[in-house]
């Protein structure tokens, strides 16, 4: 660790862990909030996003454990019973993905000097950027 203390790195990873778990919950809820035929269109995308966010959370949790920590989860979430159409679901998904992308970009600046972690964060930035681009394409008129 050249620039950051181990506890600081764990704190940064915990923030990303919370982002991913919260995103997974949002995708799960969104999947069940989409009504009608739109579900056929966006359902698979939301399921895939849910699965991927859980996978990302798992990777982050493993990194925290490797550093000798225990993942800490602090999310505050209230998801109401409002039905959404396919477009609204994708717009929300885009907001979530953009937030995740920013979270990783922000984290990269903070973990500068930790080569291993930098690599991991860069990979995540690439993945999230792809998701954002894909969702933007789907939302084109």
């Amino acid at each position: 660790m050249t620039t950051l203390k181990k506890t600081d790195v764990i704190q940064e990873l915990n923030r990303l862990y919370a982002e991913e778990i919260e995103a997974a919950l949002r995708y799960f809820h969104l999947l069940h909030a989409v009504r009608g035929l739109d579900l056929l269109l966006v359902g698979p995308k939301l399921k895939e996003a849910h699965r991927e966010t859980i996978e990302h959370a798992e990777v982050i949790a493993r990194k925290i454990r490797t550093l000798g920590g225990v993942p800490m989860l602090r999310v505050s979430l209230e998801l109401d019973a409002t039905p959404v159409d396919g477009r609204q679901a994708l717009e929300l998904a885009l907001t979530v993905e953009e937030a995740a992308l920013e979270a990783y970009q922000d984290c990269l600046r903070r973990v500068e000097g930790d080569v291993g972690l930098e690599d991991f964060i860069r990979q995540q930035i690439a993945v999230e950027s792809e998701h954002v681009a894909e969702l933007k394409q789907l939302l084109l008129d």
Partner: protein
């Protein structure tokens, strides 16, 4: 969205029944902004005041929540025209947003003074309670609180006499509803107390 002078407290419902009592609880839902939204707006205002800018990540750190939550929470505020975001993703308050923040901050100040200086609530508790209701009280109530504070500020000696009298009276509750001018069949002071909270479950 009403104009700055029209008050941001409650959306006016044209179909609202004339009797207010049965629908009072619904007013809570009709409040223009939630507690969370109020904190987002004030965080933006504070960050711009201290850093000169406010980004989603700064708000997330300030409020101790995820960026995802902040982004989602900001959407209705942007739609309502209270918050804008520039090409560098820096957030700004619109004129309406600034006006709303000013109103909330003023109400917090008035409520904190009412609770601490007039009612004698402890400083920390007064701050917490003022924070809980700052965005919920009507402009009418805020104006009446201001009028009371102005009345007290006008003549500090008179204020001191009045407050000393009522603090003395307030301290003399004998928990005897039959002789109390404020209580009916039960002692209101006893009813205010909620049951003790259950111990928090220890997380594994």
């Amino acid at each position: 969205m009403p104009g700055a002078g029209a008050g941001y407290n409650v959306r006016v419902d044209a179909n609202r029944p004339s009797s207010t009592a049965p629908v009072t609880w619904k007013e809570f839902d009709q409040n223009v902004i939630s507690h969370s939204a109020a904190h987002h707006l004030m965080a933006i205002d504070d960050l711009i005041g201290t850093l000169g800018y406010a980004r989603v990540s700064d708000i997330a750190r300030r409020l101790g929540i995820t960026r995802g939550s902040v982004s989602i929470s900001l959407q209705p505020l942007k739609k309502a025209g209270l918050v804008t975001q520039d090409e560098n993703r820096h957030l700004r308050l619109s004129e309406a947003g600034r006006s709303l923040v000013g109103s909330i901050k003023t109400k917090r100040l008035l409520l904190r003074r009412l609770l601490a200086e007039v009612l004698g609530v402890g400083g920390a508790q007064a701050e917490i309670d003022a924070c809980k209701i700052e965005h919920l009280v009507s402009n009418e109530t805020a104006h009446r609180v201001l009028a009371l504070l102005r009345f007290l500020d006008e003549d500090p000696e008179r204020a001191e006499r009045l407050l000393a009298d009522w603090r003395l009276a307030g301290a003399s509750c004998r928990h005897a509803p039959e002789t109390c001018p404020s209580c009916a069949s039960e002692c209101l002071a006893s009813l205010v107390e909620s049951p003790p909270t259950a111990p928090k479950r220890k997380t594994p």
